[in-house]
Amino acid sequence: MDVFSLEEESGCLMKSSRKKYMTGLMIFSLFLILSISGCWGKREVEDLAPLMGIGFDLGEKPGTYLVTQQYAKTKKGGNSGAETEERTLGAEASSVREAFDIVSKAAYRTPFMGSLKVIVIGEDVAKAGGFNNMLDFAQRFAEFRRSMYLVIARGKAEDVLNLKLRSEQLPALYIRSIIEGGHELSAFPMVRLGHYLTVLGTKSTAPILPVVEAVKDGDRIHYKAEKADEAGEIRIEGAGVLNGDQLVDFLNDEETKGYMWLEDDVFNRLINTVDLKESTVKFSGQVLKSNTRYKVKSDGENIGLNYQVRTSIAIDEVLGLDRQLSGSDWVELVKEAEESFAKVIQQECESAIKKQRELGFDFLGIGRHIEQRNPKYWKSLKERWKQEVSDFPVSFDVKVTVHHTGMSSSSATNSEGEGQD
């Protein structure tokens, strides 16, 4: 190897290591530039007040809203740093920004919106309509996330957020926990801000929001209240149907459950046949799996929607058995249970449809289903859909399969003649 080729090779090596150095330096500069600009607007976490919930009620002055803001504060002397206590402040203003401005003057920390979990819309605002103006800040300002939950309060949102709960939790966090545990019950819809805006965008579907309410002792739940006539618990039950952003009516528990079946939103449900009059033996069970499909069916002249609900249930409780059953009797009883559960599901679905027809608002999204399955027909229907909602033919096909009946193949029964009176 001659001297020139050695020089050439070492030159190449130098060039290649220089390139590597330059590339490394460049990537380093990229991160350096990002970190330098990040220091500019930095806020120490100790100086922030994490916002957990907002409530909207009508203000006393026309055109104003009472905006209640619930912040979390680390509990002094708490067992862990995660323990929080509430700091709830309200301000009457014509815009949410203005309300934050008023509260910020009194707060010793800067409100941080990125932690917001729940927006509670008071019944009066919901009925008056126009709360989309209040939500605009939440969907526009970059600190917020569209994954926060929306609920309607029975009564005032301020009262819900100011509740002193027996569990000592923040009402906003408590509501969030109930909603996120909602899959266990599948008895009310889980509505995030993003979902609400998506439904609003469909035009044909009426949005629906779950309803939150304060629960006093004796209001179907019994507990030892610290002060008489003061609520210490929160419950989510039923839903509110909206026309745009105006509350039209509330759905009761049965109608909301019907909505959940038809919306294919049932994960695990507790279900019982106690109210069925036609059978003497009653069953309670847990939905293990459920699937709702729909078909747009035509009989030549009329077009209708057929819902097919397929549900798998585990029986947890059998009531009213007065004798020990043989194996074959048990199989028959399971068939009876399947029919009874199917009847209950169908009743819930029918009550949701009945409500939709009464209200004339398509909260079940039937218009969207028609559009999805038969867009050509939908084009001819969509202009007069508001008039058609109440009369559009809907049918059900509900089938239930009992997956298992728990740890026992029979129930405890009295000896013949004992305890019958």
């Binding site: 530039i33 600009s37 805006l197 965008g201 399955r373």
Partner: protein, 347 residues
Amino acid sequence: MGTTFLPIASLTTGVADRDGWMAVLPGFALGIPYGLMIMSLYKKYPQKNLLQMTEMLLGKWVCKIIGVLYILIMSYFGGLLLGQIGDIYESSIMPRTPIEMFYLGGLLLVLYLARSGIEVFTRFTEVVFPLIVIALVLNMGLSIPRIEQGELMPILGQGIIPIILAGSKVTPFVMEYILFLAGILPFLPADKQEFTSLKKGVWLAVFLVGFMNTLVVLMQIVIFGPSETVNLVYGLLVLGKMVEVSRTIAGVESLFLGAWFGALVIKICAFFFVVLWSLESLFGLKGTKSHLVVGMIFMGVALNNKRGPGLVVEIGLVDNYLIFPFASLWILTIWTFSHWKKKVGVS
């Protein structure tokens, strides 16, 4: 690809509604014939960029006019993209940082890359591109729990025409790439074997970016629905903000924005190079002074332009009414002229 995935969902969905995602690949596919036209020209005139070919085929003055237009469009567009860096960061995660800091940061990196040369630039893209793809895939993958039922249906509910119209909104994006290709030609290898792999590269680039963008549009439609997809200025950033892993991890959009910053720098730097090469071809200008002058022009455009939705609209206007007609006419004319000359035997 640098910035296309930010406005593409809003643009295509605005025209083709739920079928917007179907318009992306056909729209990008138009880039293939143009890319192949450039390759065939390069085969005939190796080591020449498109401006030099224009001079050889159409004469000095026509070349000067086209060249000046090319420089103006690329400088303005590059400046707008620099402005978009600040706009994205300011409106999403760093509202209190002066917007000029983002312009400056981006421009410094672009100047550094331009100064280091095309090889360092390509190595930079080699490192950053996988990060962009990983960030995009992660962003979309982690957004799957937010998918809304049935938002994609009905497919072809509006027929095929809106898809074609939406495709025309996508085509200018490919033309940006084609215009960069027109400038980078002299740096490409010219032997026969490499030439075949270059042609394959055109196909690969168009389909890879087209596929990624299709996914981006599809995810936004199934998560936001068509109406919200159109409303959102930077839908992908909102998607990033919705990512939550259990109750533990949220706010990962800042990480995604790091990768997007790299993507934007690549795109701006590509246009920066195009302007530098054109200045050198037309006026023989090169060296540090030309780098600084072009940098100042980019900065000036970024500082003096609109922000927010106005900026997105302005970028769209430049894409649709300047880049697309300019690139398609220029390349088609040169290619046709070169074939005609070959046919009639004019050298």
